[in-house]
């Protein structure tokens, strides 16, 4: 029996509890936290896409980045670093977002959906694990986005500073932003409670190195289960909470903001899992690393925001299951354009994976 890392369990449990509280206070069901959905809402809020139902300045994102930043500064772990294939990371971030929005959630929401009884998330998790497995095969064979370099402190502070700016602007001049009046974007907990909970969650996630992809990745690569305990803690807390509050609903069809198009749930999450391994962490981890001063992760977050804008401007994102006027089930899913985008994303990841293998570099050195 491996030793349990309690910091990860505490961080995971807190994220699970905070997600439940935020859902009870107004966030959409099974969406106490969702990095993909919330970055998408912010993209809409600042006018990068015009999907009227998903536009809001989510304080959860601001809180996670700033909580990690404050904790990193307090612990002397804030390091401004960048230069590890930033353009590639931007593209990877964009496709991870397209995959997540095809599934309708990031890996964190996938775990929360599982805790709510949404079996589509189980299909998504199979795809996620498969994507991680494929990514690990490239890592084992030497895939690398190359070294990063020490930068001046301001470079490391870019994303935290932008988050502070966004916070001040939203509070001072909210009319600047597009804010949903109906749909998921209109459903949110009180701004200050969400910000406060996310600040603590960000700080704990920084200490615990919480990562939804890292748990499965490290289990496969090193038989290291540390991060998996965080994943399991979030699931158990969400499960117990949903059972206690009567919001647990087991099944595939008509789950909250979810579709039961199995193949595309799985393939969307293949894209997320594989991309997250190449990037060195899931969307949540990218926010936390950016808060610690990692400019490459900040670029990845910008890529994810751009990916969200693409997803909604070109109709690539998933549509939830619904009932028609006759009360019949209409299975949601993604459009033909969305399917092409997910397959294109998988092809792009394959090309990036192959082109960043070490053999080519060695061959050049021999010449």
């Amino acid at each position: 029996m491996k030793k349990v890392n309690w910091m990860v369990v505490i961080a995971g449990a807190f994220v699970g509890v905070a997600a439940l509280v935020l859902t009870l206070l107004g966030n959409p069901a099974n969406m106490g936290f969702c990095i993909a959905c919330f970055l998408r809402d912010i993209a809409g809020g600042i006018g990068l896409h015009s999907a009227e139902k998903v536009q809001y300045i989510r304080p959860e994102i601001i809180g996670l980045v700033l909580g990690a930043c404050i904790m990193a500064l307090a612990k002397g772990e804030f390091r401004a670093k960048a230069g590890s294939s930033p353009a590639t990371r931007f593209v990877l971030g964009a496709f991870v977002m397209i995959g997540a929005l095809a599934f309708l959630g990031c890996p964190l929401r996938m775990v929360l959906r599982l805790g709510g009884g949404d079996l589509n998330a189980l299909i998504g998790m199979l795809g996620f694990a498969l994507g991680i497995f494929v990514g690990v095969q490239f890592l084992k064979r030497g895939f690398s986005l190359r070294r990063n370099y020490t930068m001046g402190r301001p470079e490391g502070g870019i994303l935290p500073a932008l988050m502070v700016g966004l916070l001040i602007l939203f509070l001072a001049v909210p009319t600047l932003f597009h804010l949903s009046e109906t749909g998921p974007g209109s459903q949110h907990a009180s701004f200050w409670i969400a910000l406060g909970l996310a600040l603590v969650a960000g700080a704990l996630a920084q200490r615990a190195r919480l990562c939804m992809a890292g748990g499965i990745r490290d289990s496969i690569m090193f038989q290291d289960f540390k991060l998996l305990y965080g994943f399991i803690a979030i699931f158990l807390v969400a499960l117990i909470g949903n059972l206690a509050f009567g919001t647990f609903k087991l099944g595939f069809e008509l789950q909250p903001i979810a579709h039961s198009s199995h193949l595309w749930n799985a393939l969307g999450m293949v894209l997320v899992g594989w991309g997250s391994v190449l990037l060195g962490g899931c969307p949540l981890r990218q926010l936390i690393l950016a808060g610690e001063g990692n400019g490459d992760s900040a670029i990845t977050v910008f890529g994810m925001i751009a990916g969200a804008a693409f997803a909604h401007n070109f109709g690539l994102a998933g549509n939830a299951d619904s009932l028609n006027e006759a009360g019949e089930l209409v299975v949601g899913g993604i459009s033909s354009a969305g399917k092409v985008a997910v397959l294109l994303g998988i092809a792009v990841l394959l090309v990036i994976s192959i082109l960043n293998m070490p053999q080519k570099e060695k061959a050049v050195q021999k010449n």
């Binding site: 390091r79 890592l139 690398s144 070294r147 990063n148 090193f222």
Partner: protein
């Protein structure tokens, strides 16, 4: 003589993957691993211990020097 792995500038999981590759390939009695990331220090330490190495950590400015020796 200790095998040296310079994983400075790499973020997780790369430093552990580099150490793992070296351990699998050559099974050295001792390794010196250079990293500049606290998360990498924790992960390489945990991996080294799981592989039966004793791990000593020294910090010089922003570089951590981990010495792994077979216990």
């Amino acid at each position: 003589m200790a095998v040296k792995v310079d994983a400075r500038g790499f973020t997780c999981p790369m430093p552990v993957a580099m150490v793992q590759k070296e351990v699998k390939k050559n099974a050295p009695d001792a390794l010196v691993v250079l990293v500049d990331d606290r998360c990498a220090v924790e992960n390489v330490t945990r991996f080294g211990r799981s592989m039966g190495y004793k791990v000593a950590i020294e910090q010089q400015d922003e570089t951590f020097c981990l010495t792994l020796e077979k216990a």
